[in-house]
Symmetry: C2
Subunit: 81 residues, 2 copies
């Protein structure tokens, strides 16, 4: 088995109202040294080993997990025993 | 400035209906080798440097960013020029 850790972030230049809300909340809580906040998604996907697992993960991200118009993704693949 | 990358995941044993939905969708798309999927959050927070930045990030996570009852968090802190 492999554990694929996928990180999905908004592309630079795409507005992030959720991040802005988090930033404002942190300021209200007196964390004044906080600057920009960007909120993304994180997924852990267990997969049976296959050849071309990276190609498969790319396809999964493009088709379903990320929106390639506004989001970037990256991932790491770990061996799990 | 520091860029703090925060990863928030559901604790083990906590049901993840969103992850289950993603898993089912991946199966519908013929990715049959996909097992359990867990969905979490990922945040990038820009912060001005301060002493005890780790203590501050811990407090921010406990107070606002994560729900410590059902979620775990981890983070990395990077220097940004």
């Amino acid at each position: 088995m492999r554990k694929v850790k996928i990180y999905i972030t908004l592309k630079e230049g795409v507005l992030d109202p959720q991040g802005k809300a988090v930033q404002n909340s942190l300021h209200s809580l007196e964390y004044k040294n906080v600057g920009e906040v960007r909120v993304g998604k994180y997924m852990e996907v267990m997969m049976e080993d296959t050849k071309d697992i990276e190609t498969q993960v790319d396809k999964m991200c493009d088709q379903l997990l990320a929106n390639p118009v506004i989001e970037n993704y990256s991932y790491t693949i770990e061996e799990v025993v």
